[in-house]
């Protein structure tokens, strides 16, 4: 590659990165500023003091919200891994009558937008007396067609001979699933896990509907509360809240980006 072409590419990469990352960097800077500094429109804080962070944990039960978000996200992640891997196993390794029909049933769930079903779902949760509970926030999301297809793609690459060999070795179906299929599919499981955690952590509408008090509220609802309490006054505190909320998912994304990219394209296209 010629030198001038490299220079142009790096220039474009740097400029576009700055634009893309600007809102996050800017929020980070604001979270260290005093009210006066924000009003004067500075880009950098004069000192990096954690006052705003202390304040945001004071104003909101943010620590509780963080724990709730972790419990709910981990819950959905594990639930999806169990439910989807069981279903994917049946689709790949057991041939049975009606498989095509059930497969079609799974596909058809992808055509039903979750928002179109939220009214009856809300009443189901209410009737079960699951408002303000972890199970009400997690259980509806355990079954996932996309996750089942993603795992099915990977399970299909496992040689059939391995299946036969394990049967001859006297391993039960569940033994084969648990001791052979799951361990060799670690990468797909990690991808689906990261995806499930990320999407659940960022979920907004459902937690808004099924929580009415602070006991199980997640950080996303906390942000909404913070923003409506603090409008126009303490933007530094609000941005401190934003940074606390996005750090776990940003870290997860930075660590698992390659995995996620591979897994998502595979699950999507094949």
């Amino acid at each position: 590659m010629r030198a001038w072409k490299k220079v142009i590419l790096y220039f474009l990469l740097i400029v576009t990165s700055l634009i893309m990352f600007f809102p996050i960097i800017y929020a980070f800077m604001i979270s260290f500023m005093t009210g006066g500094e924000i009003l004067s429109g500075k880009l950098l804080p004069s000192t990096f003091s954690f006052d705003n962070y202390v304040k945001v944990f004071d104003r909101l039960p943010l620590f509780n919200y963080l724990i709730n978000s972790f419990v709910v996200s981990l819950g959905v992640m594990l639930g999806q891994l169990v439910v989807c891997s069981l279903a994917a196993y049946a689709f790949v390794f057991i041939s049975f009558k009606g498989r095509d029909f059930i497969f079609f049933l799974f596909i058809s769930t992808m055509m039903i937008p979750w928002e179109a079903t939220m009214i009856p779902n809300f009443f189901t949760i209410q009737k079960l007396d699951w408002i303000n509970t972890y199970q009400g926030m997690t259980l509806p999301f355990f079954a996932l067609a996309f996750g089942t297809f993603l795992l099915r793609q990977h399970f299909k690459t496992i040689p059939k001979e391995l299946h036969e060999a394990s049967e001859i070795a006297g391993l039960s179906k569940f033994g084969f699933f648990f001791r052979v299929v799951l361990p060799v599919s670690k990468t797909s499981l990690v991808t689906l896990g990261a995806y499930g955690f990320l999407t659940t952590w960022n979920m907004y509408l459902w937690p808004l509907l099924v929580t009415t008090n602070n006991s199980v509220r997640t950080v996303q609802i906390g942000l909404k509360q913070l923003q409506s309490q603090e409008v126009a006054t303490e933007w530094g505190v609000v941005m401190a809240g934003v940074i606390v909320v996005i750090i776990p998912t940003l870290l997860l994304l930075f660590l698992g980006q390659k995995q996620l990219q591979k897994g998502l394209t595979q699950g999507a296209l094949k």
Partner: protein, 303 residues
């Protein structure tokens, strides 16, 4: 003869045993899909033909009246218009930006991994967090955008309070938020293209633009098609941005369909008309998905 029937009996038994085992593995999914997807979908359609009470129980059968009411209601028609405009503003622009970034990030340069991570970063940002940040950027007096306009002595804009600007502003923040995901998918598609295609083109002395037009875009078409579908569906489902940035206002200019359903159901307690709107949303997304299947088979170049 008896041996054959015996054999058949065994294989029948075996086959049905297979079905029973399979069912055991599929049962959690089937139960959850039934309770949280299929039942509520039918229930939504059912409720759309009724007037409901506060507990969401069907009270009076009204046939298609909820639908007739919606089609005559300015608020609903306005919400449809806003939703389609929003789709138009966000989907094409968002995908073109993500495609450009993915092409840049697919070059083999030192430190490219860093830039990839930056481009993908918005995928780790929640809709609530992003909306709060953009709320600040759009702020009439302390916000970045108006400060910027000020430098050039341009008139200030009420980004979220002016009906002519509000939908544009919400779209801008949405494009930014969705770029990370689209970028990641398109980059994955680019990396799946076989390297030797480029090598032979390079030997023939084909220019960058020729290669882009003749190799990259055709080979990328399944990925692009997939991300277009996902983006369309996502755009129809937008809620968080609206709830935090505009609450559907000003003068309902950003009252997108899901926000409209939410307000009708959980603020006005009109579950019948809200369900009719939800059915409309379902039909929109169904059309997008069916189009994907129909067009996808024909027009897209698969490897």
């Amino acid at each position: 003869m008896t041996a054959i029937t015996k054999h058949r009996k065994i294989s029948n038994w075996k086959r049905s045993s297979n079905a029973r085992t399979a069912l055991l593995y599929l049962l959690p999914s089937i139960i959850l899909f039934t309770v949280f997807v299929f039942y509520p979908m039918f229930r939504t359609i059912y409720l759309s033909f009724f007037l409901t009470d506060q507990e969401g129980e069907a009270a009076i059968f009204v046939g298609l009246e909820n639908y007739a009411y919606l089609l005559e209601s300015d608020a609903f028609l306005n919400s449809i218009k806003a939703t389609f405009l929003f789709v138009l503003y966000t989907v094409p622009t968002g995908i073109i930006i993500a495609l450009i970034l993915a092409l840049l990030a697919n070059e083999k340069l030192k430190g490219i991994g860093f830039f990839r991570t930056i481009y993908a970063s918005t995928m780790g940002v929640s809709v609530a967090a992003s909306s709060v940040v953009w709320l600040f950027l759009f702020h009439p007096s302390v916000g970045m955008f108006n400060k910027f306009l000020n430098i050039f002595n341009l008139p200030q804009i009420e980004w979220l309070l002016d009906p002519t600007w509000a939908l544009f502003s919400v779209s801008l923040s949405t494009i930014w938020l969705n770029t990370g995901f689209s970028f990641l998918i398109i980059l994955g598609g680019l990396q799946n293209i076989d390297e030797y295609l480029y090598e032979s083109a390079r030997i023939d002395g084909a220019s960058y633009w020729y290669r882009l037009k003749r190799i990259t875009i055709p080979m990328l078409s399944p990925t692009l098609f997939f991300i277009i579908t996902i983006s369309l569906i996502n755009a129809f489902q937008t809620f968080g941005q609206i709830d935090i940035l505009t609450k559907g206002g000003p003068s309902q200019s950003t009252n997108l369909i899901v926000y409209s359903i939410y307000r009708e159901a959980f603020i006005n307690y009109q579950f019948g008309t809200a369900s009719a709107q939800a059915v409309f949303l379902f039909i929109c997304i169904l059309i997008v998905t069916i189009l994907q299947f129909k067009l996808g088979e024909k027009k897209v170049h698969y490897q």
